[in-house]
Amino acid sequence: MAQNIAITGMGIVSAIGMNVEENLMSLKGNKHGISKIENIDTILRDSIFVGEIKKINQELLDLLGVKEVVNNFSRTSMLGTLAVKEAIEDAGIDVRSENIGFINSTTVGGMDIIERYYNTFEFEKDEQHYIEVHDAGNNTNVICDYLGIKGMVTTISTACSSAANAIMLGARLIKSGRLDKVIVGGMDGLCKFTINGFNTLMILSDAHNQPFDDQRKGLNLGEGAAYLVLEAEESYTKRGKKPLAFLSGYANANDAFHQTASSENGEGAFLAMQKAFEVAGLDVGSIDYVNAHGTATPNNDLSEGRAILNVFNQNVPDFSSTKPFTGHTLAAAAAVEAVYSILSLREGIIYPNLNFETPMKEFDLIPNLQLKSKEVNAVLSNSFGFGGNCSSLIFVK
């Protein structure tokens, strides 16, 4: 039986809110954040829907109080900083005086800036300070500089499972005794690079995404950032901090099937969930809610659905995907959904899987369709990504 890792703080920005409480209000009020894209000038404007945060970069900088015109913030690191700031305030920790760890994750880093100036950097000296944001680690360090974080810092990039893996590494670093407090999570801002990349894969929906629906047409990309503060028992007991919840299980496995697609039987997903239960020392029957990866691509939902059925021996607990609220926020997704999982434990609520109409013909799985109140003691959260990367996390009260 593994030692539990406490969560003592959390922070989030997404298309449905700029902090934890705003996100909760939206989830409770069925208020989704999916819309046409406004902040990016793309030819795909009329053919896709996204989970976009309706604030332009200058508004985000104003929220951060950044006055310098010459700064190194990308949209991604602006979102990241806002969410990290909320998480450390919530945890009540002082990153300036202690060597607190920071395990960040991103898939695009500062690509929104790079794609804007790619061909003009050479001639426009005023833009050149932005060149460094092409490097993902630089985006993490910008957050460290702003908030004064100075401990062990690193950045993970494992596509759509990135934040789950950041959370997992943080937990292992605490278990190993190397750290007693660590900020973990992920961030990604929307940019043309990602939108067009997913468009070439033909997995973007031209409507609102419908996870686990037979008529699902693909995903809506989103943007956001979310972070947890993980803390060792000795540390939060000593400072008298009451944990929000505990991370009890985590695992990562590779599907080793295809560079972008999941195997049809969801073997990697199955392995990740199974190993997470082993680490947690929990029985599958103890799970009250599954926050599915549920991207609404034909491939993911079939593969994940089969894996869930296998793991739970056909007795699947309440489950839903919250991507119809936020869109798929890529590297941030697992952290966004970790925050939602913890809110589910705290509030005793199960979120609706919006936009669901028709059960899939391959199996008999119907997600939770209405906001539901019940005692929630354990939540399983899945995140799967390109490169066959599958990760599962288990949160308990």
């Binding site: 993902a136 680690g137 993970i156 990039s157 494992t158 590779n254 972008t260 392995l271 390109f386």
Partner: protein
């Protein structure tokens, strides 16, 4: 806690590192303004169609990881963990320049798929049909050390007996041009002199270096990995202190270190930190490598390859010294690696002979 051994090495770099010679015939790059990796014989490892499709970083990684696994005598692994600063930058550039040039039209998915940072780890997993733990770190100069720390924890705490850990970066023409504009890399007329830095920036290199870590000592084991440490911010004057505290944690004093490998890269703005780092090491032999390999985010993986070789072969090639020590050590028991990236993201790696 289990011990963590380095049981296999594979290194594709600007030197003849893929064979077992430990820099016997070093190539001189003192006049170079760019130091690309030598191309290994891809054909023995990768099907011809894939050779055309894959970027250099992926190909070099496939070859380097195959060598490391062969040396460790393993055919499957319990984890694949890579560190890369810029990921598959060649494919990123391909996708991005087309996106801009054709205003988001006529794009194809392949360069996008291959542009993701975790392409290398994913590709190796696909080749090995490995469903094991699979991670990619992208934290600039600490990308590789993050992967190494993770791999070490997998071995020491989760009792894994073969974890593949690698550091890889490739040269991308457009990003190199951009990084030169802001003095991260040296301009074309600036000399590669890591011992007497004159100008800001480093000469860019590239490479892929892989290791198999395991909890069992084998005939081919080159070293024991004792610790990896990373710290984001250290004030300049505190660098010796950071090193002291690390040594104390391991009950060591400076003179216990037989060789210290330093990441001097000829950047006049930041190399003074290496001078500070050296100052308390009176007896340790000082070893440098970036004059032979150039610099890139994952270059500390080359330092680990050198450290492993020093401990295994009990020898330091002369080309790695700034000044050849008057009295060279008769044996090498402990090797320390210190690097930082542009004044932050400091790291220490400690190894012991077996």
């Amino acid at each position: 806690m289990e011990k963590c051994f380095i049981n296999g090495l594979g290194c594709v770099s600007s030197q003849e590192t893929i064979n077992d010679d430990f820099l016997k015939s070093p190539i001189d790059y003192s006049d170079a303004f760019l130091i690309p990796a030598l191309k290994p014989d891809y054909k023995s490892f990768i099907p011809p169609a894939a050779i055309r499709r894959m970027s250099n970083g992926v190909k070099n990684s496939v070859v380097a990881s195959a060598y490391a696994m062969k040396e460790a005598n393993v055919t499957e692994v319990d984890g694949i963990i890579t560190g890369t600063g810029m990921g598959c930058i060649q494919d990123s550039e391909k996708f991005l320049s087309k996106l801009i040039e054709y205003n988001e039209e006529y794009l194809t998915p392949t360069p996008f798929i291959q542009s993701t940072h975790n392409t290398v780890a994913g590709q190796i997993a696909l080749n090995l049909k490995s469903k094991a733990y699979n991670f990619t770190y992208v934290h600039a100069g600490n990308s590789f050390q993050s992967a190494l720390l993770d791999g070490m924890m997998k071995v020491q705490l989760d009792n894994k007996n073969s974890v593949l850990v690698g550091g890889v970066d490739e040269i991308g023409d457009h990003s190199l041009m951009l990084f030169r504009l802001v003095n991260i890399y040296k301009k074309e007329d600036e000399k590669n002199d890591i011992f007497y830095p004159q100008t800001p920036g480093a000469v860019m290199g590239e490479g892929a270096t892989f290791f198999v870590l395991g909890n069992e000592k084998q005939d081919n084991t080159s070293a024991e990995l004792l610790d990896v440490d990373m710290l984001s911010k250290v004030e300049d004057d505190n660098v010796p202190n950071y090193i002291n505290q690390f040594l104390e944690k391991h009950n060591l004093v400076h003179d216990d270190i037989d060789a210290i490998i330093l990441g001097n890269n000829g950047d006049v703005k930041f190399d003074h930190l290496y001078t500070k780092a050296e100052e308390n090491f009176e007896t340790a032999e000082k070893v440098y490598f970036k004059h032979l390999f150039g610099d890139f985010h994952a270059s500390p993986s080359i330092a680990l390859w050198i450290a492993s070789n020093i401990l295994k072969k009990q020898h330091i090639p002369e080309v790695l010294y700034r000044n050849i020590p008057r009295e060279r050590k008769s044996s090498y028991k402990k090797v320390l690696i210190y690097t930082h990236y542009r004044g932050q993201d400091h790291s220490l790696i400690l190894l012991s002979n077996v």
